[in-house]
Amino acid sequence: MANLSASDDYFRFFGLDQQFQIDLSVLDRAYLAIQGEVHPDRHARGSDSEKRLAMQMATLANTALQTLRNPITRGLYLCKLHGVDAHLETNTAMPTAFLMKQMDWRESLDESAEDLASMEVLMEEVNQSKQETLADIAHAIDGAKNYERAAELLRGLLFIDKFAIELDDAISALL
């Protein structure tokens, strides 16, 4: 069963190297190439087992794509592959400086929720912080191979991302 073991490794499934920094266009092309073969529409006249298998493989392709396309899930997945569990449900400990910044952001959001210009300035700051964290994660995983450190950074990124979504909601409410 050549490739089914690849369901344990989404990178291998798409023929990619196991690393945080990936070329998304390469990922997309590999995804489309695989869906072009396994999608249930390609097996609509097949036997029942062929149809079932097509559904399973297409499901796997979708799950794998979604996991790898988003940097947070991709990072968490890499940590998991290397035996590091980020303990998202239980571990919420964060460095004080990080928490202070989060509180500042929330305060700004509460205070100027009606002011589009300052919301957009805040959004820029949040996005920059996100980019910096992503660079740190890339370094921790691809460079230092420090998955514990990566998991910690990813927990922080989840906070930032959640805030970015709330901020985006507030901005679109003003548009």
Partner: protein, 621 residues
């Protein structure tokens, strides 16, 4: 001498080898069936040359049924037994249907789905829809003079699981093999995309008789990727008619009308609405049963004003779908208009203004969905050459979740996730020795379960008795390419993987379908035995064809010994298929042969993935 027709090499199968599959648009107001003939999709007209079949079914006291135009003629005279817009009731309970008080029917509330009380007994919306589908199937078989291998049936993108399941059940009842349930806007995109060779982001605005859909798609060479979808499965042209009707009642200061008068006046309003798409003025002129004459004039401007809020409602959904796709209006290259209700000028104008471009409407908005469905059906039937195949990637329209403590919803699969998709969730028991648990599955975006659409309870039975909290029950929610949910579960805590039986509380069982058939469905006398034998024969032949195709292309993947084994299995099934007249024995033989070829299917799938990745598409990076 007659000329022989020969197809281009490698382009398509010779005519006698073509498998005929149809596309069906099962609409709220009208339904259509289309096929691909000589590489072009076309709607099949009835013997009188009419392309639209009114989605109307009438039940008669003698057990006969009428459908289409024949039924439509009796809408006014026999309103209770003449069912129009049944699509609004598919997969719905009485509480789910908006403005149900404006319909003339006697409803029977049943868990899951309502029924309609007629002179011929209580009818489920599934049975009513099956009458329409059976007519379309007959029409198609008569015009191609051949058997239909299957159909692609379109559903509004915003249909939930219960509505989709009901549609599939209706097809089953009508004896139609469903190759795929296809979302209506996606079908329209296929018809447009392949016609116009469009590339980029497109929106499909689909305002039908009873449903509104908006889909945002990325079209690129050979790939249709749905990015997001939204809408309202209870908003359509019918609502514009009803709004006009209320306005006329107000203007003419009329008391509440009888059922017959209601239908009569409503038809008049529909007609006036259609007039207003062409003319600046229209007139609702009708004589009621008691001789009262109604004569009210309305201008385009007045009509636009009284229905403006309905148009605005669609635009809110459009903006939400764009946001879900993470796109701004100016990133959309074009907007495709689908559905008869988009003929209204103020709808065209409002959509054009929002997108800042002239909407695309060069294909007939009544036909475009059926045409796209026919093209997809032709593809699924295997009539396209490999180079001409396209790939369709669709999404689930509404989030799937489960009810947790306190009536809150825990989302399992968020809306706009590409399908097919599966998610697993672990559960445990609450009490010592507990052997069963029930999972309430809901679909919708609200946080409270009571505000979402309940898909019913899935009951898990046969959990090995253990201490409370010791069981580890992994429940997998699988949504297939039709957007339909199935649930499976295994108990893992005991160390033994025990699969658990799950009983959904909706969808028709085989027994129910048999009963409906026996109840004289489609007024034709159905020979049940012959029907089930025929179904098994089709299954057997499909398996034989599939394995033969597989052997032809990938024989080398099997060892010599394996090849012989597969071939013997097939020969044996072939023999049984030829002789056997007992459907149960035939089914057993099919199951046996299928098991024996499972591994071959798996090996082929893996090989095709390897080949795809090694192909130049990926290597040229």
């Amino acid at each position: 001498m007659a000329l022989l027709q020969i197809s281009e090499p490698g382009k398509s199968l010779a005519p006698h080898q073509r498998r005929i599959a149809v596309g069906i648009d099962l609409g709220t107001t009208n339904s259509l069936v289309a096929i691909v003939r000589d590489a072009l999709p076309m709607v099949l007209p009835d013997p009188e040359g009419r392309e639209l079949l009114p989605s109307v079914v009438r039940y008669l006291p003698n057990g006969r049924t009428q459908a289409g135009f024949e039924a439509l003629e009796n809408v006014v005279s026999d309103p209770k037994n003449t069912i129009v817009s049944v699509k609004r009731f598919m997969g719905r309970g009485i509480m789910d249907v908006s403005h149900i008080e404006n319909t003339p029917y006697d409803f029977v509330d049943e868990p899951g789905m309502l029924k309609l009380r007629t002179v011929a007994g209580d009818k489920s919306p599934i049975e009513v829809s099956a009458e329409i589908l059976a007519r379309l199937r007959q029409l198609a078989e008569d015009s191609v003079n051949d058997e239909i291998v299957g159909a692609v049936i379109t559903v509004p993108a915003y249909f939930d699981d219960a509505q989709r399941q009901a549609t599939k059940d209706a097809a089953k009842l009508a004896g139609i093999e469903v190759l795929r349930l296809l979302n209506e806007p996606t079908a329209a995109a296929i018809a447009y995309g392949l016609d116009n060779a469009s590339e980029g982001i497109y929106a499909v605005y689909d305002l039908g008789g009873g449903t509104f859909d908006i889909s945002i798609l990325r079209m690129s060479r050979g790939v249709f990727e749905v990015l997001s979808t939204g809408g309202d499965s209870a908003l359509g042209g019918d609502d514009f008619d009803h709004r006009l009707y209320c306005w006329v009642i107000e203007q003419a200061k009329l008391p509440p009308l009888s059922l017959q008068d209601h239908r009569k006046l409503l038809l008049s309003c529909t007609h006036a609405k259609e007039q207003l798409s062409q003319n600046p003025l229209a007139r609702v002129h009708e004589t009621l049963a008691d001789g009262t004459v109604i004569n009210v004039g309305i201008s385009q401007a007045q009509f636009f004003e009284i229905t403006q809020n309905l148009v605005a409602k669609t635009l809110v959904a459009v903006k939400k779908a764009l946001r879900d796709a993470g796109l701004k209006v100016n990133e959309v290259k074009g907007v495709v208009m689908v559905g008869g209700a988009t003929r209204m000028p103020h709808v065209q104008r409002a959509v054009g203004e929002l997108f800042g471009s002239k909407p695309l409407n060069n294909l007939n908005p009544d036909q475009v969905v059926a045409l796209g469905a026919a093209m997809q059906a032709d593809l699924l039937a295997g009539n396209q050459s490999k180079d001409d195949e396209w790939l369709l990637l669709d999404v689930i329209p509404l989030s799937l979740g489960i009810e947790t403590m306190g009536g809150l919803v825990e989302k399992i699969i968020p809306r706009n996730t590409p399908i097919p998709v599966a998610r697993a969730q672990d559960f445990t028991t609450f009490k010592d020795g507990q052997t069963a648990l029930a999972i309430q599955v809901v679909q919708g975006e609200r946080e409270l379960a009571q505000n979402c659409r309940s898909l019913g309870k899935f009951e898990l039975r046969g959990i090995p008795p253990m201490a409370a909290g010791a069981a580890r029950i992994r429940v997998t929610f699988q949504v297939d390419a039709d957007g339909l949910l199935s649930v499976s579960a295994t108990e893992q805590g005991s160390g033994v993987q025990a699969s658990i039986d799950i009983k959904p509380s909706y969808g028709l069982t085989d027994a129910e379908i048999t009963r409906m058939l026996q109840d004289g469905f489609a007024s034709a006398k159905v020979d049940l035995l012959a029907r089930s034998l025929r179904e098994e024969q089709v299954n057997a032949q499909r398996l034989l064809d599939a394995v033969q195709t597989a052997l032809n292309s990938d024989r080398s993947l099997l060892s010599a010994q394996e090849q012989v084994a597969v071939e013997q299995e097939m020969a044996s099934l072939q023999g049984i298929l030829k002789e056997e007249t007992d459907s149960a024995i035939l089914r057993k033989a099919v199951d046996h042969a299928a098991k024996a070829t499972d591994e071959f299917a798996q090996v082929r799938m893996n090989a095709s993935i390897q080949k795809a990745l090694a192909g130049k598409n990926v290597a040229e990076i």
